[in-house]
Amino acid sequence: MAAGIRDKVAIVGMGCTRFGERWDVGADGLMVEAFAEALADAGIERARIDAAWVGNALDDINVGNSALPAAHALRLDKVPVTRVENMCATGTEALRGAAYAVASGAVDVALAIGVEKLKDTGYGGLPLRTKGVQNDLWMPYGSAPGTFAQLAGAYAARHGVDAGDLKRAMAHVSWKSHQNGALSPKAHLRGAVDMDKILNAPLIADPLGLFDCCGVSDGAAAAIVTTPEIARALGKADPVTIKAIQLSASNGWEMQFGQWDGASVPNTRAAAARAYAEAGIRDPRAELDLTEVHDCFSITELVIMEDLGLSDDGRAPADIMDGRYDREGAIPCQLDGGLKCFGHPVGASGLRMAYEVYNQLQGRAGERQRAKADFGLTHNLGGSPFNSVAAVAILGRLN
């Protein structure tokens, strides 16, 4: 395996808008909001940005194609700007592009920014799109909850888990995120919700109820990355560094070849294994202090805990019910509320996850602050369980 980029890239500034139903602002305003906070945090001027990667997954919803909407919004003058799109893993993909540019020595300072303006669709849930004129001839048009709901039945069948027990564990996932979201000032959904309400909510896609599904939001998040040397020069004595960023994409094996049991997301496992190796993490259960994972649906988070190696296969429901991933648990998950409550403006989510870990590592997470926060993991999942792009990033401190 290649040496990787561990500690070759520092994050010197981050910004994140309030996520939610941002009727008041367009995609350009969201990007400016996140960018301005990141610049202030980094303590640099806009002119220091050598290159930028903008992540935006659903370009037809009021953002627009290409790099130009971001270049226009941020008035980046003759800067190489690249738009990236990798479904819901887009935010981390933008960070990966910026980080690789710095690590390669091609640029000194790079911007990663993700944005989505979903509430201009006019309806709840993600917008509908063609799957391409060829796939449209055969591929079903399931909704996002419809695709991820299928993890539940397959998981229950694979591990012999009672459907009621699984539903309660899923409900605990959402309950926990609502508890955390209530402490997160920029979160979309800030109300705590009791278990009965979660368990008795209307079904969206069997067995997922309303509270098993994350919020669909407007928002943007940004990161400014540079070399550790420049970070120190900017006054960041012990900067947050990227320990690893790894990505894995389906080649059709899950949905076309008859071996996958439907109870896990193989790309998460592949990306995590490579990220642990890149970061030098041998025992993630002991070494990771917190995770921000792609909890688009409660069952997704449950399965991710196993895919990341934090629970044994078949044990995630029990670990969840034991509180391992609660705020005071051994490895808290979604301290900021996660996709579930912080919200999910698709192109921004991967960077929003990094924003929470970045703040936790620097002791800036307010009421949510974890006492020990040396290593944090973000997991960003695009597509569906059977056709996915999984991105795993690990952040820590340089020293």
Partner: protein, 475 residues
């Protein structure tokens, strides 16, 4: 061996509406409604073509037919041959002659007569899903369904005689400006149909067969209005029961498919040596007399099909499926697909034929791809065609999606695994009472995949359905 009918097939959609319950919903109006029996109701994604293909699926035999004739008065496309689409859906050679017969409920019997007179091996398949107006008697009297006949040598029933009368008696009609069937007074229709069309034509067909009408053991006579056969039988001195009445009672008037479905029931009840009458009605009469030589393959299954299905208890759901109400499904329903002819030309045959590919190591995949999905292969190769439509599969994962727009929620879909290795993400149809479950075995059904009403186009693909249907209780 004699040339004639070698096999028959039928298809009825899953749902059955209790006419009495439906009529009760309209009792306040005082409108006259048929109240006896049930009506077969097609799914939103079924049309005359999909059902006609389903009816013909069991008629493939050892060798493909020389021709496929499709008959319907409700075919979706008016300048795109349903028969040519069916050739691909049934994976028949493109050298198969294809013809659409339309514009009369008699289209199927006329096509069958032509096939029989041509002494060729052919498939005649008829499907019907007619537009009706809420409140009309026709909406409850009609049914959706299909029937098919295979002709060829080594027949189980031979054509003994026949007669045709072309007579523009307007018992009912549909037109471009009035696509829902418009019916005239029943007593007028019955009197004229019996005296001027049916009795003369049946007499002539029996004479051609060299038998008296009293020698007919069974009849399959499509009646323009109820009790027509009773009057015909009295006039002819014919004791045969009319099996089309069973179709009407259990499934409804299937239009162009009606007489052939009744013929299947007649064959199921007949013994070798019996004479069976087939009558198609509409703008005239086709009367065909068959001598049964042996049990007719497929006939018993057609009879069994009448009693299998699922009660449709919601009248408003029926109105929705029948296209009689225009519900506001919200913004998600505004999503529009446009199929491209270039893509259909490139891969459409694999789609509607559900043809996957076998790689050099024996694994099958769908769709085919230049680079096999099999991880053991790392070079491009040409995959061998494998038809999946006739195979069973097992559900790997599934959900009932209640967010996604579908005209008849919920939207069931998931991964299904074929025993030959192919794994396909598929929609599921004919939802059982308890829904679908992981591990359940499924079979494939041809359905509408997408429709674009604005552009007047639809595409077809296969969907997974339970292997068997539940038995209906007594209606």
């Amino acid at each position: 061996m004699a040339h004639g009918i070698t096999a028959v097939g039928g298809y009825l959609p899953l749902l059955r509406l209790d006419r009495k319950a439906a009529a009760r919903e309209l009792s306040w109006s005082g409108l006259p409604m048929p109240r006896a029996g049930t009506r077969a109701v097609a799914g939103w994604d079924e049309d005359a073509l999909t059902m006609a293909v389903e009816a013909a699926r069991g008629l493939m035999a050892d060798a493909p037919p020389a021709a496929l004739r499709f008959a319907s008065t409700s075919a979706y496309f008016t300048d795109r041959a349903q028969s040519a689409i069916a050739v691909d859906a049934l994976a028949l050679p493109r050298s198969t002659r294809s013809t659409d017969a339309a514009n009369s409920r008699r289209a199927a019997t006329g096509a069958l007569l032509d096939a029989l007179l041509g002494q060729a091996s052919e498939i005649v398949t008829a499907g019907e899903k007619r537009r009706t107006q809420a409140g009309s008697a026709a909406q409850l009297a009609f049914g959706d369904g299909a029937s098919a006949v295979r002709t060829g040598p080594d027949a189980a029933a031979r054509l003994a005689g026949h007669a045709t009368l072309s007579h523009d008696l307007i018992d009912r009609y549909a037109s471009q400006d009035h696509p829902a069937s418009y019916a005239y007074e029943e007593r007028f229709v019955r009197d004229v149909a019996v005296a001027e069309l049916l009795v003369p034509a049946i007499k002539a067909a029996c004479a051609d067969a060299g038998i008296a009408p009293s020698a007919l053991a069974h009849a399959a006579c499509a009646e323009p209005v109820a009790a027509t056969w009773k009057a015909v039988a009295r006039a002819l001195g014919c004791p045969a029961s009319n099996h089309c009445e069973s179709v009407t009672a259990h499934a409804g008037d299937l239009g162009a498919a009606h007489a052939l479905y009744g013929l299947g029931l007649a064959f199921a009840a007949a013994q070798p040596g019996d004479f069976v009458l087939l009558v198609g009605f509409g703008s005239g009469v086709d009367a065909l007399v068959f001598e049964v030589l042996a049990p007719v393959p497929g006939a018993v299954d057609m009879a069994a099909g009448l009693s299998a299905g699922q009660p449709l208890t919601s009248y408003s759901r029926f109105l929705n499926l029948a296209g009689s109400v225009d519900l506001d499904w919200g913004m998600r329903s505004e999503f529009e697909q446009k199929a491209q002819a270039t893509v259909l030309e490139r891969i459409g045959r694999d789609m509607i034929g559900f043809v996957g590919g076998r790689d050099s190591l024996g694994n099958v995949q769908f769709p085919k791809s230049p680079m096999p999905v099999n991880p053991a292969l790392d070079k491009p190769e040409v995959l061998e065609d494998v038809r999946l439509a006739e195979l069973e599969a097992t559900i790997v994962s599934v959900t009932a999606d209640r967010l996604n727009y579908t005209p008849d929620p919920p939207f069931d879909f998931g991964l299904v695994q074929f025993d030959n290795g192919a794994r396909v993400l598929m929609e599921m149809v004919d939802r059982p009472d308890g829904g679908f479950a992981v591990g359940q075995r499924v079979r494939m059904r041809l359905r509408i995949k997408s429709q674009n009403p604005r552009l007047g186009f639809r595409t077809y693909f296969w969907k997974a359905a339970p292997l068997a249907r539940p038995q209906l209780g007594e209606a």
